[in-house]
Amino acid sequence: MTTNQKTLIIEGGKAERHYWLDLWRYRELFFFLAWRDLLVRYKQTAIGVIWALIRPLLTMLIFTFVFSKLAKLPSDGVPYPILVFAALLPWQFFSNAFSEAGNSLISNSSMISKVYFPRLIIPIGSVIVSFVDFLISGLILVVIMVWYDFYPDWRIFTLPLFILIAFASAIGAGLWMAALNVKYRDFRYIIPFIVQFGLYVSPVGFSSSIVPDQWRLIYSINPMVGVIDGFRWAILGGDTLLYWPGFLLSIILVLFILITGVIYFRKTEKTFADII
């Protein structure tokens, strides 16, 4: 047997060089873990896939009832259920991915302390699992749109771009949470709070056009505002307008969270096995 392979050097603080190469090398593990989570998820709950459908559907019905029928908020000329659902899709994707990713390292702690692999695989894998749920609930939107005889225009083709932004925000925030959660265990109590709070400060049940103009830029500091507005702009088409300054601000913030998230995660990753 010959050992003409490259020499691996293990040295404190010098893992950086191999890291991104390793991430590529471990891509199969990444898919296996995502596959495992999906498999387990749909095996454990008897109603499996239906669960991914029922939850957004019920939320949509309640939001429509509360915001449209009770609060009588405007719908920008589109059926209110569609207005709500176009926002619920990215929001549920974000909130699921965020909380799953945030807890992912802790729930895989035995693997982290026993096997080497780039740890980024775990939180990103759980974001992928939430993305599958997102695709499933996307089907509901299609059904509702057919029901209301409501068809999108060319802008629907820009949707992948907004999905990408939703991804970036979920991964960015998820990485922050995952890393902090390993170090300070009380962050697991903060995650549900952020998710609950976020639902109220994001324009999920209503259109962000009801926010007074002078407040809109400040409102866009919540990065999910840009993501949700983008989804509505792409799906609803027609008269829906995108508030560009706010949208750009949201995008910048999403990128900021993503980049700092990766940096912070990478910085703390080396100590995960020691403290988990």
Partner: protein
Amino acid sequence: MSSIITIENLSKKYIIKHQKQERYTALRDVLGNRIKRSFGKLLAPNTNYGNPEHEEFWALDDISFDVRQGDRIGIIGRNGAGKSTLLKILSRITEPTLGKVLIKGRVASLLEVGTGFHPELTGRENIYLNGAILGMSKIEIKRNFDEIVAFAEVEKFLDTPVKRYSSGMYVRLAFSVAAHLEPEILIVDEVLAVGDAQFQKKCLGKMESSGKDGRTVIFVSHNMGTINALCNKCILMHEGKVMGYDQTSNIIAQYNGVADKHATINITSKMRNRGDGSISFETCSLFNEQRKPKTSFYIGESIRVEFTLRSKFEGEMSFWLIIFDASGVALLSSHQRDITLTKIKNGKYRLVYKPKNFGLMPGNYTITAGAFDPKLNFLEWVDKCQSFEVYSTFPNGAPFDGRWGAINQVADWKMEVLG
């Protein structure tokens, strides 16, 4: 033959936290301490607020050695010697604080059997998952799939969730996946301790043959029999340092020598749980049957415990002794008062405890002992004043056969012919 692993001045530091109830850091504690400290500085600026809760601990302390290709290296040492830390660094789970390691070739490490196994998934699914976790590619797993299943002897249960497997099947499947890794370097922690004896033998055979293929194996075990059978060279570690690196038989002899230096322990007041001080144990020593100092014994080997003690008590009293296993379960008690009470006066004494049959199974044990007055008031009580190990080997050299029970009882077995 060239060296495949080079370790240079490797060190690993851990910070131990004292005064901590919880296992984990919580943000509220960190913030709380910080506020406390800054207020403290405001009120008394000259006080030194060093960190009394943190203490540095070098799990590995300046280790250097080379491993040649095709060597099967055993690593031995008492608990806390740094064996697991070394394996964790070699398998890149944790980073060294200082020094470096050069590795030529693909490393696969098996620090735990069945890492990542999910109880809800079937045997088939878990093979793929576990294989991927251990670093096999999908193609490799597919190629070896039938062999893995046959080795584990679980053909019939491939599509059953592993939560319905017996523990034996579970371990067999998990180990089988790992046994089919084809790396240049295989790192194995004490994982063979599980599973039945026959399967253990099969796994050892597999590992041995992989060594003969030119594969390098690094193996940690407390079982000297296994180490002796599998490894051509051994490393002895003690408190984070390499104490010896030589042929297996030499190192095992050295290990027994080092361990036996701890056969006498001075009892400190820290170990004292209760007692009014009228009787105080001073040392605790362990011996084998020939009264040679020992801290490790073969299964069923006789053990002799001796205490030196000082007494201010005058009158009748009795001694007692309890043996705990590594998980803190009290396995056996022995009370002198069942048989007799001792008359004691002011002075210095030696107490000898020699059980008739001492059949502890392989593992690590601790001794707790004390003294009663006739009304069962504690005259002395010291916790964990001495510890010892029972090897996974019988006195005749035969390896432990995985028999059940905490105690191996020697009894009279008689058969009477009735007709």
